[in-house]
Point group: C2
């Protein structure tokens, strides 16, 4: 019973996002690390998403961040995968590679353990458009599942706010 | 209350899959259309998935199937995206591009409407390894959410069966 309103609310966010983007003729892509495909999955929960959503690169390894998103190895070594620099590069690369108007990226530590010297709940989101790239740092609490879900919800909420300021 | 056992069972499948693959030193990638990132998300629900799972190409448009998975435009025109041919090509390309031991692909019609001249619930799954590519056709019933969830569960169950015959 308690999870119902959350799921409903989440689907409402995606639905209105897709409606707005469709009306404006805008397209969307994602590049995901911490959310592992969950952001794309949330977007494509909505029937008709294909009018807006082009796809996602789920780059769960450093190698795939280099191969598919062109993030230099030295950047991953220097900044680590969980950084503003990498979040920004992921979103910009996804936008370019998919030829989308907007792209969202997610990178962070889902836990339970620390990674890249950072504690679970440390998350970076970036949203790239032709005009600019916005980055957001989150410090989330909760278990792995809660952190991943909150990242997805925050990413969708951020894009909504950018599109309807 | 009723969804609890299903979620638990699903997480069990992924956990044992990752345990088996980790023990054998095997890696996994996915290429997703109908599941829209949901298969990668289900796999990465498990903490420690990064030891096995390299990433996913969520190719939600025909263009992204061509760009990231090298599926020729004429194949998409001739066979359509929802076909054994395209499922097979997606899995083989994902395996090659990620350099993974195994790759799973999903393509189908989630609904509510028909697509590519086929009714909702028509799904193709392919699992590629170095040795062979196995394809599975599903005829699922239910709404969009049920069809996508059943596709994810079937894909995970098929790989489990291949790894532990």
């Amino acid at each position: 019973m308690t999870t119902k309103p959350v799921i409903k609310k989440r689907l409402d966010t995606q639905s209105s996002l897709i409606k707005i983007m469709k009306r404006r003729g805008l397209t969307l892509a994602t590049a995901e690390s911490i959310t592992g495909g969950g952001l794309a999955s949330a977007i494509t929960d909505v029937s008709g998403a294909s009018a807006v959503f082009l796809g996602s690169i789920v780059s769960y390894s450093d190698q795939s961040k280099t191969k598919f998103l062109g993030i230099p190895k030295r950047t991953l070594t220097k900044s680590t995968a969980v950084s503003e620099t990498v979040a920004r590069s992921m979103a910009e690369a996804a936008r370019k590679e998919f030829g989308a108007d907007y792209a969202i990226s997610t990178t962070g530590v889902a836990g339970p353990g620390r990674a890249y010297g950072q504690k679970p709940g440390t998350v970076w989101i970036a949203i790239a458009s032709k005009r600019e790239t916005v980055t957001i740092e989150l410090a989330l609490s909760g278990d792995r599942d809660a952190i991943r879900k909150a990242t997805i919800e925050s990413a969708l909420a951020c894009l909504s706010r950018i599109l309807t300021p």
